[in-house]
Amino acid sequence: MMGTLGPHAGFILAAYGVTIVIVLALVGWILLDGRMLRGQLADLEARGIRRRSARKAADHPTGTR
């Protein structure tokens, strides 16, 4: 592909490379952040600390809130 991109192939490949790196870093950061937060939330809930709405749902498992 380098040959077909002309004399400025390096600039074109660098532009696409930087874009891919930034997008992958962004996706990775959001996924890791989400995983970490869900872990922390699960840890708190395992210790019996729940939101009021979650406590009500647990008290009325039939869904009649």
Partner: protein
């Protein structure tokens, strides 16, 4: 479901949990098609040669850098005027994504500028105003992280976002108001686009795909921000009642 129902974070989490897999699939198809057309079908430009291929990522990134800030300005209004519970969440979630797309626009523009203009950077009105946009994104992120109370941080941030939104028309019209090295608008302009359809359609498809990517990432980041606030609220509950925390 009424639009106002989305004001409820729990409903927002449920709805976005259903939508996101489909949104990612559509994003992959549209962006993949756009990049295929841009890289393998669109012809070389008669002046720029193959370097025009950089435009298929630079232009959507530049548009989305402003789109992101526009979303944040709308969210800031939602925070200050309507006290919408998700408005501040949206602003905080979009900021790092907008900053990333602005960085993308600056770097790809620089990589295009060197072979085409003979310089990596010029302090002209368009480039300088986009750099200011990038610095504003970073400043807002720093401000939110510096204030512990999320409600107070949200209001202070919302005021700063609205003040900074004056930069958006400056970016858009800088090429018309001042004599800049950066070329004037060539897609959305009075009298129609000056770009040949063989390049315009791949560019527009890339822009739609990149916009879908931006929205998908924003929704994911909003879900994370909601979880972060739930965790903070639960920790406050735990701190207020040590007996409950150890139960």
């Amino acid at each position: 479901m009424a639009l106002l129902d989305l004001a409820n974070p729990t409903r927002f989490m449920t709805l976005t949990g259903r939508i996101l897999p489909w949104l990612w699939a559509v994003t992959a198809i549209v962006l993949g098609t756009g990049l295929y057309l841009a890289l393998f079908v669109a012809p070389a430009d008669y002046q720029q040669g193959e370097t025009v291929k950089i435009m298929f990522i630079h232009v959507p990134a530049a548009w989305l850098s402003m789109f992101g800030y526009g979303m944040m300005a709308t969210s800031a209004l939602g925070t200050l005027v309507w006290r919408h519970p998700l408005a501040d969440v949206a602003a905080r979630a979009v900021a790092p994504i907008g900053a990333s797309f602005t960085l993308m626009a600056l770097v790809t523009g620089s990589l295009w500028g060197k072979p085409m203009w003979g310089t990596w950077w010029e302090w002209d009105a368009r480039m300088t105003s986009v750099l200011i946009l990038f610095l504003m994104y970073l400043g807002l992120i720093a401000l939110w992280n510096a204030i512990e109370d999320p409600i107070k941080a949200g209001r202070v941030g919302a005021v700063l976002i609205l003040v900074g939104s004056v930069n958006l028309p400056i970016i858009k019209f800088s090429v018309d108001w001042w004599n800049t090295l950066h070329q004037p608008a060539s897609v959305f302009r009075m009298g129609g686009s000056t770009i040949a359809p063989s390049m315009l359609y791949p560019l527009l498809i890339c822009a739609v795909g990149a916009t879908l990517l931006f929205i998908a990432l924003s929704l994911m980041a909003m879900r994370n921000e909601i979880l972060r606030r739930r965790i903070r609220a639960l920790r406050l509950v735990a701190a207020a009642s040590p007996a409950g925390a150890s139960a």
